[in-house]
Symmetry: C2
Subunit: 310 residues, 2 copies
């Protein structure tokens, strides 16, 4: 079983409009509702790949109820081990301009989590860890959660001998990385913010020095670079693709974790991560992946040892 | 009792952001949730004025449940006679730029209403009409409702001898007006769209010829004009005010209806409508009104006979 933790789950709304024009009124043509938050997205991809997956984190209020109902009706359904909280799970609204596909994102902050609710989450997490082949800690922290929360979760995973991946940004990433997670997956902006280095390979090496055993940095449409104890690689799709990048980063996490759980080495992990994320960009619905494209790309992603940093 | 009908009720969300920038991501600083839809707003103002008020229309799904819970916790609480439907009540999102207060509005279309649900609404409406001093039919039609729905509701009110106000736009206004409502309350854009006349007084006379007994047209910050069987008036606040115009039109409806129910004449109705709508623009929260400003303005609104159209 693979465990994903989403402390700030979300009900993801998508609004189709002709074009977003500030300070005017818009009739939304089409509304979709999806269960969301990075770890929930990762779990959806993992279950679609055939992996037994459990989601934990927080859900509460009317939007939390809707989130869990939607989670229960997915064709590939992760196990719901979310901790119920008193506050209302946040919504995110993606306003998508029809035609261009340009997206404007509005993210609510999320419910205030109490000390008792955090204690409940730790209890659930400790119970789930012994059965996990790997764990992913994903996304932002809701209000009320101390900024060192990921540090605590990483230490517990390491003490249980479970490989742990951290996918977050800002101060939670800075604090979390010091607890020596097995893997972090920042994009170039997050990596630059963490390290102050603009050159991704240099920044990835710096992130390793700060505590991460391995660093996989997303270069967007250009693929990934990985800096690990076993070497450094660059993985790229056969050609840049156009589409909706929402969820592509979550597919990278799902690709890396599933290949890790299957005992595959770094080159295969990266190949899968790039194929999945590219197939996610190509899918019409945000956060789904195009299975045919995934299978085709799996054979055509290039993975090469990365030359050393200057 | 005053009855308001809102066929497309809404859960109104307000998102505070520093500034809305299309095609970027925003962290929402503050989220508020309010029960909404024009007739619900009118009912809130009427109850705040001390009038016994009943709301009907449709509500359903998780957002309908939240809407009704919020309605039940208001300090001035209208009676909930909403008809439960299978679909999910729509959300509206008002994205408010902090500082300037400029607002970008995103309105979901609303749930699909079935023929059986419409029959349930008619049953409820017929039961409520005999106890009503006046009825307001407010806002857009949800999907599935035939465009002549307001025609049917106006005929039933007239048959029951209950004064009926119609506040809608576009084709539902065009169809509804032919059923001879006692009063319509378009703004200048809606009136121009209906009649093709850009000059408000001329357009209001035209709207009367199309079937409305009386027409009160909103000129925004400049007040109202009324064209009625008893004469024509122009009502204006003592000075233009700056603030949030959301809900100002609903306060006009509440002012007109409450004064009508109290047996007041046209000049007093218009005075109250302008005072209430101006006090709504001055209130910090969208759709509330500033009671002290309302009381102060009530004595200072000017109402003058309108000179005839050229």
């Amino acid at each position: 079983m693979i465990l994903t933790v989403t402390l700030n789950t979300a009900l993801d709304l998508s609004y189709a409009v002709p074009a977003l024009v500030p300070h005017t009124s818009h009739r939304v043509g089409e509304v979709t509702e999806r269960p969301g938050g990075k770890g929930v997205n990762v779990a959806r991809v993992l279950t679609a790949l055939g992996h037994d997956t459990v989601v934990t984190g927080f859900a509460g209020g009317p939007t939390g109820t809707v989130l869990r109902e939607l989670l229960g009706t997915l064709p590939h359904r992760p196990t719901d081990a979310l901790v119920t909280v008193a506050g209302n799970t946040r919504r995110t609204v993606a306003v998508v301009d029809r035609g261009t596909g340009d997206t404007t994102q509005l993210n609510e902050p999320g419910p205030h989590i109490t000390a008792g609710e955090w204690a409940d989450l730790l209890l659930t997490y400790r119970e789930l860890l012994p059965g996990a082949e790997a764990v992913a800690l994903c996304g932002s922290l809701p209000p009320g959660i101390h900024v060192g929360a990921y540090t605590e979760l990483i230490r517990l995973a390491r003490a249980a001998g479970v490989p742990v991946l951290l996918d977050t940004a800002g101060e939670p990433l800075r604090r979390g990385i010091a607890a020596r997670p097995d893997l972090v997956k920042p994009n170039t902006d997050e990596l630059a913010q963490l390290t102050g280095a603009l050159e991704p390979l240099r920044a990835a090496h710096d992130a390793r020095r700060r505590g991460a055993h391995s660093v996989v940095a997303s270069l967007g449409a250009e693929g990934l670079i990985a800096v690990t104890p076993d070497g450094a690689w660059r993985a790229a799709p056969p050609a840049a693709v156009r589409g909706n990048p929402t969820g592509a980063g979550d597919s990278v996490v799902a690709g890396l974790l599933s290949a890790l759980a299957e005992g595959l080495g770094w080159e295969d992990r990266l190949r899968r991560a790039v194929a999945l994320s590219t197939a996610t960009v190509l899918a019409p619905a945000a956060g789904e992946f195009d299975r045919a494209a995934y299978e085709d790309l799996s054979a055509r992603v290039t993975v090469e040892p990365h030359p050393p940093a200057d």
